[in-house]
Amino acid sequence: MKKKFSIILLVTVLLSGCWDERLNKNIVSVPMVAFDGEVGHLKGYYGLPGKQRNTTEYSYITVDGTSIEDLRQKVDLQVNEGIDLSKLSSILISDELAEKELYHLLDQYYRNARNRLNTYLLVTEGDPEPFIKFGEKMGDDVNNYYSELVQGFIHKSVFPNIDLQLACSYLMDEAIDLTLPYVKISSENGVPEVVGLALFDGQKFTGKTLNHVESLLLQVMKDKIGKYANVSYIDNEVPVSFRINRIKRMMKWEGTTITIDYRLKVGIMEYYENHLLDENRKKKLEKFIQEKMTSDMEKVVEILHESNTDALGIGRIARAFHPDVFKEKKWKEIYPTLTIIPKVQVEITDTGVLD
């Protein structure tokens, strides 16, 4: 009896894998896609790395369709094998398209269990086709070119670590707004380059962006810096570069006025005037940095207010602790009425191997 059961069990176990088998030779992996147009009249670009689809060269397919799934199905018709998006590392969306409801483009990626949720989203300045076409020059990096670009800038504290899953979380939460990497094709050498961050108001790209210095400051203001957060200023024609080692953030709410105190511990990376053991010189430099950072942060707050982008997630804190300020479904009207005052205190704790 036991022997029979063992055989049946073994056979069934072996059978269960057959139906859902997906061999690599039967699929075409797509590492990057790009979209332009608008829902109803979308244009999709699907990058297909070499060594598949009977070719050793990189190529890409352009299709027109009504929705993201429609585009995918049309690409499927153009390849012998089925396309596979489970290794998709980046989705590029044109700025024009991002100005429409972003979730409408992403639903298909959340709905299918095979899709990756760690894919990075990027907003492109203008037509995204050149970004996909650039795959021809990416060589072996083609599978992860844009995702590694984003990760690099996450380490440098320019981009927040927002992948497809987190983007959905932000899009569905009225108490925080999304910021996504904003890239353009360099007019000098035709290479994709980072501009900074695209600012969203709810589901839509506002058309406003932060440059990469402002983007870094935004990560500092969120207390979400990556591995490195390096800043450079000029103090009376003397360059001073420093890295932010530690951030302590405290918020004080007085009605609709929010004062955010930042206490930063920084390490000097470049300052040829030296003699930072001299207390006066050190204090003077600290004062310069904190004044400069405060004024730069004020500019960032101004841009965020202009675009009605709650990238700092003030709404989440209001919802949690200030029910008198936060009102469900009304936060986007309340947020622009808030006064946000950043104040920076800097302490130089490290000067490298020199004093």
């Binding site: 059961f5 049946i8 176990v13 859902d20 899953q165 959905c168 989440r316 804190i317 949690a320 602790f321």
Partner: protein, 344 residues
């Protein structure tokens, strides 16, 4: 009926797997949808209530004497649970892991494990849960990968629970305690019957509560409430969003763990039903095969999103009756009967 015993630890492990298996991936979103930031508080309150119930069960289990009709009622209830769970397991596997594999293959595979365990010695069904212990640890380790992404402000505001949240939250939380009546079936077989102290029961309930509350908090702090409204299996989605270098799809790995967990809970429910059957009839092999055949066929009619949801909702009412009211009624009946016998 064949004489068998089990230790305290075996009893609690049996109960833990029975109560967590299958439901532990969906209970979080159900409870959070109903009670939002107060979900974990309501869960703790309901758990305390069940601790009280377990204490009552432990104190008066001797009066839990089932007649033939009641035994059949319980069997039908447990076999219904098994059918519902199998439909749910296959539904989840179809969405997450095996979209092409026919349902009858997946369900047959699971039922064969149960059939094998229930045709073997009692020790097989009683000890099969042991293989899950490392999986519990692995699951919690996998969950902890999301710690860095938790948004602690999602926890607030909590404490102000309105009546609707209480009613809905308590209703959905009950789902996590389906199978509690197994305690009454197994308790008479515990070695050294007098040795089961309240402290042990409280410790068990604390572990069960912690397990569920941790998962509820992770889901609550990881997703926004709006997201939770559209994601029915949040734990799976949470794990899917985690990236580790050596495993591309953590959710798939977890799916297999959960499948094993669920299959074992099916084995245990079938064991409960068959152990009652064996107290009535000496020959049980044909019935064991027949009932396994039946529970492998019936789920095939339930595998749609609507039916899976409806059948799960009905299970909650089953728990109210078979897990709480009916045992208390039977114990009361038994107690009165014993009083009458004493007088005589």
């Amino acid at each position: 009926m064949t004489k068998w015993t089990l230790s305290n630890k075996q009893l609690f492990l049996f109960l833990f797997i029975l109560q967590t298996g299958t439901v532990f991936i969906s209970v979080q979103s159900r409870v959070i949808k109903a009670a939002e930031q107060n979900s974990w508080l309501i869960f703790i309150a309901v758990s305390l209530f069940h601790l009280f119930i377990l204490h009552i069960f432990n104190k008066y289990y001797k009066y839990f004497q089932l007649n033939k009709f009641e035994k059949w009622l319980y069997q039908i209830y447990w076999y219904t649970i098994v059918v519902t769970f199998l439909a749910y397991i296959d539904f989840i596997l179809e969405v997450w892991a095996f979209p092409q594999t026919p349902a009858y293959i997946v369900i047959s595979l699971m039922v064969i494990v149960s059939l094998y365990a229930n045709l073997s010695k009692y020790a097989v069904a009683l000890n099969i849960s042991v293989i899950l212990i490392p999986f519990i640890v692995i699951f919690l380790a996998m969950l902890s990968l999301a710690t860095k992404d938790l948004i602690w402000t999602n926890l607030f505001p909590f404490g102000q629970i309105d009546s609707k949240q209480w009613i809905d939250g308590v209703g959905q939380t009950m789902y996590a305690f389906i199978g509690i009546e197994a305690f009454l079936i197994l308790r008479p077989f515990v070695e050294d019957k007098k040795e089961l102290k309240f402290r042990s029961i409280a410790l068990y309930q604390l572990i069960l509560t912690l397990f569920f509350v941790i998962t509820i908090l992770y889901v609550l702090l990881f997703f926004s409430l709006e997201e939770i409204k559209i994601i029915p299996v949040t734990i799976m989605y949470l794990l899917k969003s985690q990236e580790i270098t050596f495993l591309q799809r953590l959710d798939l790995f977890f799916t297999y763990i959960w499948m094993t967990w669920s299959v074992i809970s099916v084995v245990l429910f079938m064991f409960l039903g068959l152990s009652l059957y064996k107290t009535m009839y000496t020959r049980s092999i044909k019935f064991t095969v027949f009932i396994h055949f039946l529970v492998s066929i019936l789920p095939l009619f339930l595998i749609t999103r609507e039916l899976v949801k409806k059948s799960h909702d009905i299970l909650m009412y089953g728990h109210y009756f078979f897990g709480l009211l009916f045992p208390l009624f039977i114990m009361l009946k038994g107690w009165r009967k014993s009083l009458r016998e004493k007088k005589v």
